[in-house]
Point group: D2
Chain length 343, copies 4
């Protein structure tokens, strides 16, 4: 870190800061400017609560230098990581790592065995490699439909049998991890749980692939720190998912942070997936944003598809019909090809 | 809800929407304007996923009319609710409900038995009615200090014996609820867990008082819906806590949403507490914002105090010294008196 | 508009609102629900200050129904508008309206005649149709370089002679409009001036093409209303420019609102241009976002290019080298082709 | 500034940065850490575009050390500045500088001579020292009422004759400055024009007091830089006005950044005024936020008052009745007294 002293900080104040730095076994390097003194601190200051330095007399503010995440960083691993969703006919279906874009599609919520199987067949046919469906639903209202739970997990497992699609589904609490891990190929951490650290620890210990959604007001650094929680338990099968952030603009449900796609790819080796459904909230813009995501470098897309969106139990407004999804795949294939990738 | 059709929506499209409304046992009232048709829907549409109507042909957008929360609303209960923190000498120490402001103070994290007891005595002496301290700490980094767990809960229980202060501490996952409920008077739900629905359900079933912190990008309505989760299990001992929201302004750690204090008091009967420490992130502004909170109508304050903030293991920059806390209490008493309240 | 009454609003309150509606020569349609009464208002309520209805007794809130802009709306003109930047060899160089993407490139500020001519030749060679350069610079600090003014306009006019590129440059106040209009092909309204209504009126009266940048915290609706100011004077040569919005995420300078591209194209007939330089603030992400913009449907790009970005007088960090710009054009051509467009 | 090199930056890259620092006549101080090298730069780097250093090979990011504003800073002037609004009976009515709070009140727009005189008398009677009223109105829509212009200025001048109140009114473009300066005591720069630099320069040259409203997405630093524009012309009569910022929370029109009050007072010597009307957008919360502003340390308030808000031509929803304003003054006097100030 670098400690920036207030204009006019006294010699005693500077000495006090230096003493405190040394008490942490770190090395202070004061630089005396005309208007201000700054004190650079050499050594690994990650374990120190840097904000406490702001309370010392004469200190104005602190600038962190070291990135707080290590295992998630591009410095830790130069090459792109790939996460295997499922093995199919002896071949791994992966996200990240080479010239392809992976598609995961399905309904917001699993509503019935028929709906699950029908949608899985449709999205498989259209070109998806993974199936998403909600068994446990985080709902803003306690009065809204909360998901069919284990039954829904069973329907999805059956859909995997039939279609070979990898199953991606949300896990909402540490207790659910064993059950969800038994049925699903990928455990999704929802945006609202991105900093549910008990849950991050639990999926970190499970070794199952994890799709980690960015919190709606989480910075990229916080997203990478949440990934670090999972990685620090030895589970390296983590995919980052941009799903739109909350801003003042409310014509769309969220604001797709398209910058995050190249930025996360630069800062981290982990695969990056875009969810254009939540990122826009309006089905009429999903396809354009799906194309944009691939053009920006996303390794995969996760998209809401329902046989009849207007009858969906949740998220209808942002859900594609199977026909629209087919059109999306066709368009995305062309963009992927222009990026020298394939879907 | 009111359904706003697109300009030029056809008769068939309007008929389609009307049919769908009737399928939900609701009553449509179409109004034909020159530029647009709008269809008002009469009946309780809360259980319906309104967004699905946006997917019907010819629909532009939906405006909800009914508030999604009931038990938390001012309509449900006209009078201010009071939550009892602790009984002391046969008298209830409460937050909300009448002419007083309640102060809760203590360190971000419980660091040692001595620190807990020393701080509790100091804040008691200065005028606090509750003691806050972290046993389980939600930390952005997996490498940061995560709290002393049950040991810290024991230290706080001992501090309660000595001082009579009510103990407020964070619970981070459903499994921790029984243990925390055993030691603490009030369970705090942290900002990052405001929409951890499994946790909300767990504290809803415990009947212990809950201090529910607003998520850093949660709207007031979402905060009230999170409270509704707890209330819907029959636990009415819920306090709402404004702790600053995340905005583009980053000179301060968060932006105190002072508007939320009168607004939450108008929308809900639940007590409203302000946390000026997190809401500013800088100890030099905590006292001014504490005063402002009382002037805006807050029922209580929760403030970080540490015997030596520059040596705190976390949140040092926003933590008051015991001496500054004393000064805060003196100033706040005068503002409270100007509001015909006492501390 | 629709007026939503509070729960329990009295008959007298409802009558009061109805009377006020009728006083504006509008027609009230009250609908009496179980919990609430809503009053739909039929007629053109655009000239009315709707917020005043919120002050009437018993009113909870107002929902606008009619879009506040007319000339800028897709309803006003079904087909895409095209704006002609310049005629070259008897052929119009346009933005919008058909299967092409238009590139405008050049330095943040015009620093010297040589720099202007050199950059213009380079970007022309790489494939640009327009040249951007600042003569009058809006700078956060009064102590920063403020631009070379008319001299810079002359350099750009000379560059047009040499290259045939259309000249795009910012105009900062009504008095500057005649001078800028004399030299430039397109007047740019900067983000900070998007709601400088005196300036919008002045360019509205000039009939020169206008590139209107979205304010950094302007909603899409406000951007369209700013366009409406210009259009309402009869100047239909308006291009909308997304240049990133201000959010809590500050790793990038701004957050590219990529959703705004398909959304503005749906809401309006006006051409939409993306500025990936300001929208990211970091040159290493500009190309990815340029590709994403085209994939999302942008009609053009405006990009900062400087012969030696590290010596630029402003905005160096987000500026491409000529070589990087060439690479950008190559990549963008492939994405455009995948969209059945050409550059 | 401090330049933070990327992990693994080469010796040649570090040498390149050092050479560039020296080319600006500044002194580099490299500090070699285990993971990173940082280079502190000694000397006044304000005139340098720091972002250009980000383009040099091996550089990760730049941290500014020196505040970009000087004349507006607390370091420039230790004591609070006071701005004189008007002389009355040989006594100056001031904002800032000592133990009082100044109230400015009046309608959003001047609608008629009668409305202006009536409101001025009422707010004077209730305790105001200044009168606000719009002659030129910045309106989002070109179809909305734009103000009565010079006529309205004449009505306000007449109201000053009658009441002795100082007149505060918005100026929207450089050409209007002479006319507005002739009639008004204080020229207001609206939020949308906070970075209209041509206008800032014009009022800077006029020497009339200026009320500078914070832009709705302007940081405090940007507000202080806008003030610096005015101060740099020698006009030191500048008041800063917090009027709410734009955030994701849209139940209220804006989010009052109450933190900005103590923060601006700490960073700058200029007086700080709060506008609780725009900061909330709802008249029912104006009084609570007015009280909070005083408790937070504001030097003054500017409030919208109209004889009949429901008939106001603009901003009705956030406007107080004269009776509510009287109540506000009574309550604010008590809070001010608790702060050892008077109104």
């Amino acid at each position: 870190m670098v400690i920036i002293m207030k204009p006019g900080a006294s010699g005693a104040e500077i000495a006090g800061v230096i003493a405190r730095i040394e008490a942490h076994q770190l090395t202070p390097h004061p630089i005396y400017g005309e208007e201000r003194t700054v004190i650079a601190v050499v050594g690994n200051d990650r374990p120190v609560d840097r904000t406490t330095f702001e309370t010392l007399a004469g200190v104005d503010f602190i600038q962190a230098i070291l990135k707080p995440y290590k295992l998630a960083s591009r410095e830790f691993r130069k090459d792109d990581s790939a996460v295997t969703l499922i093995e199919r006919n002896g071949k791994a279906v992966t996200v990240g790592g080479n010239g392809h874009v992976t598609l995961i599609a399905g309904p917001c919520a699993c509503e019935s065995r028929e709906q699950v199987l029908e949608t899985a067949l449709m999205v498989k046919e259209a070109g998806a490699q993974g199936f998403r469906g909600g068994a446990f639903k985080p709902r803003t209202s306690p009065y809204s439909f909360q998901g069919h739970g284990e039954k829904a997990l069973q329907w999805m497992a059956e859909a995997r049998e039939v279609t070979g699609l990898a199953i991606v589904t949300e896990v909402m609490s540490p207790e659910q991890v064993p059950m969800v891990a038994e049925y699903a190929n990928v455990m999704q951490i929802g945006a609202r749980n991105m900093q549910n650290f008990a849950l991050l620890n639990a999926v970190g210990m499970s070794m199952k692939p994890v799709l980690l959604k960015r919190g709606m007001s989480a910075t990229m650094e916080e997203l990478l720190m949440a990934a670090e929680y999972i990685l620090s338990h030895g589970n390296y099968n983590v995919m980052l998912c941009e799903r739109g952030i909350r801003t003042f603009e409310q014509y769309t449900r969220n604001t797709t942070d398209i910058n995050a796609i190249p930025a996360l790819k630069a800062l981290s080796h982990l695969p990056v997936v875009l969810d254009p459904s939540h990122a826009t909230g309006k089905s009429e813009y999903v396809i354009a944003i799906a194309r944009a995501g691939i053009a920006a470098g996303a390794d995969g897309l996760i998209v809401e598809v329902h046989p009849e969106p207007s009858k969906a139990m949740s998220d209808g407004a942002q859900t594609l019909t199977p026909k629209a999804f087919e059109s999306m795949v066709r368009q995305c294939k062309r963009i992927a090809a222009a990026m020298d990738k394939e879907i």
